[in-house]
Amino acid sequence: MIPVCHLADLPAGESVRLDTAPPIAVFNADGELYAIDDTCTHQDASLADGWLEGCLVECPLHAASFDLRTGAPVCLPARRPVRTHPVTVEDGMVYVHLTAEEGTAA
């Protein structure tokens, strides 16, 4: 379980990047919190820097788009999903629970 930040510091429409290995991006999509692997599966770019619209995040480099709920790419050029991680809030703190590595297989 990795502490992310205070919930108050992650308002709707915002994201935060965790310098874990691999890095993880945590999003507040209209009040729902999601965590995914931060690096676009197409080419090296941080999805935390991406464009958040509803449950989709668009990569800032080539506009690949991922569904935050499943990690699945919804359009090219990305073809492989990003790993998703459960997020919880306890006492106003946001936590990410790392999904096991085999979740990357797809």
Partner: protein
């Protein structure tokens, strides 16, 4: 339309094939590519491919190309196409819509997509061993192998994006690098003088010598035909173990000479990527669309859907007005640019600072933003890029 041939099997060609199937075309589909490889992504060739050991030898694929692959077995099966790789188109007979191949085969089809890309410009004279251009996976593989032999004096000819990226990669690998640029400053046509100057500083920051305002007279070689030095037009002699030339590309249209298609810096098309013959469309680096030719990854991918739509319709029913966009990674800095910059547009830094190599600049013309440039500011860049791309902006701009 019962049969379509796509000439060129890289980014633009693959996207055209995808668009054909996505738009319901269920006829015969043939892709012809002069390289032996399935479609792969070129941008990493000057960057990660040269520097990242995971790309270099961590792959089970002996060519190390798997991380660059643009497609996979599942999609290839779904495209249901005949792939003629390692095969070069030598002539186009527009009257019969027949493509002549170097294997002797002639493909006669109802529709043709020209996606042959561009080839690097070369210096006049012979190219000694140890001198490279960088365009294809095989080019990059050869350069990578040479760079892996140990510390070298590398001279990069051309300070544009490819040259700068190669210089940055070679520096990261521990080589001693000099960049030679014929213009007084690199990247001025793309970025304008002020912003080009800020980007040019990246070389010096990383110990790379940038020599500007001088051309190259010739490459010197030893008795074994291996490069030893670069002689500049101002008389200077630069000792070199490896030379990489990145002085631009020319659209690959030689094979279309005599076809009757209008060729002038690319295959001339209307705004729908359609040539004067509606059954022939062009996409990517080889296409001059509505008077402009783009050499950008994003243009190649975006044009395919429009071109194919018009090909299947038999005439131009859709045009595509994309916002030009390109990016470059150099020395750990991500440079992104979007928009229609014109000479005289005034760049204004609105966020960050050049001293930190992290800023966002708007180019302004008559009080409006014409283009946007970012160094290591992907998020606000993306916001502005979307703003610029909005139709309301385009029609009033």
């Amino acid at each position: 339309m019962k049969s379509v041939t796509v000439i060129g099997a890289c980014l633009a060609g693959l996207y055209a094939a995808r668009a054909l199937r996505a738009q319901g075309y269920d006829g015969r589909l043939t892709l012809v590519g002069d390289e032996p490889h399935l479609p792969y992504d070129r941008p990493p060739l000057s960057k990660e491919f040269l520097t990242d050991p995971a790309t270099a030898d961590g792959s089970a694929d002996p060519a190390g190309e798997a991380p660059l692959a643009l497609t996979d077995a599942e999609e290839i099966a779904g495209l249901d196409a005949e792939w003629l790789l390692g095969t070069r188109a030598t002539r186009l007979d527009t009257r019969h819509r027949a493509v002549h191949l170097d294997t002797g085969r002639v493909l006669t089809t109802d529709g043709i997509v020209l996606a042959t890309g561009a080839a690097p410009r070369r210096l006049p004279g012979p190219a000694p061993a140890g001198s490279y251009t960088l365009r294809t996976l095989d080019d990059a593989g050869a350069l990578r192998a040479d760079l892996a032999r140990g510390p070298a004096r590398v001279v990069v000819i051309g300070g544009g994006f490819i040259g700068a990226e190669v210089a940055a990669s070679c520096t990261a690998l521990g080589h001693q690098v000099t960049v030679v640029e014929a213009a007084p400053l690199p990247l001025v046509p793309q970025l304008g003088e002020k912003m080009a100057e800020l980007c040019a500083r990246l070389h010096g920051d990383h110990g790379v010598a940038l020599l500007t305002g001088t051309g190259v007279r010739e490459l010197r070689a030893d008795g074994d035909g291996r490069v030893t030095a670069v002689e500049l037009t101002d008389g200077r002699l630069l000792t070199a173990d490896i030379v990489v030339t990145g002085i631009g590309v020319r659209p690959a249209t030689d094979w279309l000479a005599g076809s009757g298609l209008p060729l002038a810096d690319g295959v001339r098309c209307d705004a729908g990527c359609t040539t004067p013959i509606p059954a022939i469309v062009a996409v990517g680096d080889v296409a001059q669309v509505a008077g402009a030719r783009a050499e950008h990854w994003t243009s190649a991918t975006e044009q395919a859907a429009t071109a194919v739509h018009n090909l299947l319709a038999g005439r131009t029913v859709r045009t595509h007005r994309a916002l030009p966009y390109f990016w470059s990674d150099q020395y750990g800095v991500r440079i992104q640019f979007a928009g229609h910059r014109a000479p005289g547009d005034v760049p204004r830094i609105v966020e960050g600072s050049p001293d930190d190599r992290s800023f966002l600049a708007r180019y302004e013309r008559d009080g409006r933003t014409s283009a946007v440039l970012a160094l290591n500011r992907p998020r606000p860049f993306m916001r502005l890029r979307r703003e610029l791309a909005r139709p309301s902006h385009a029609t009033t701009g």
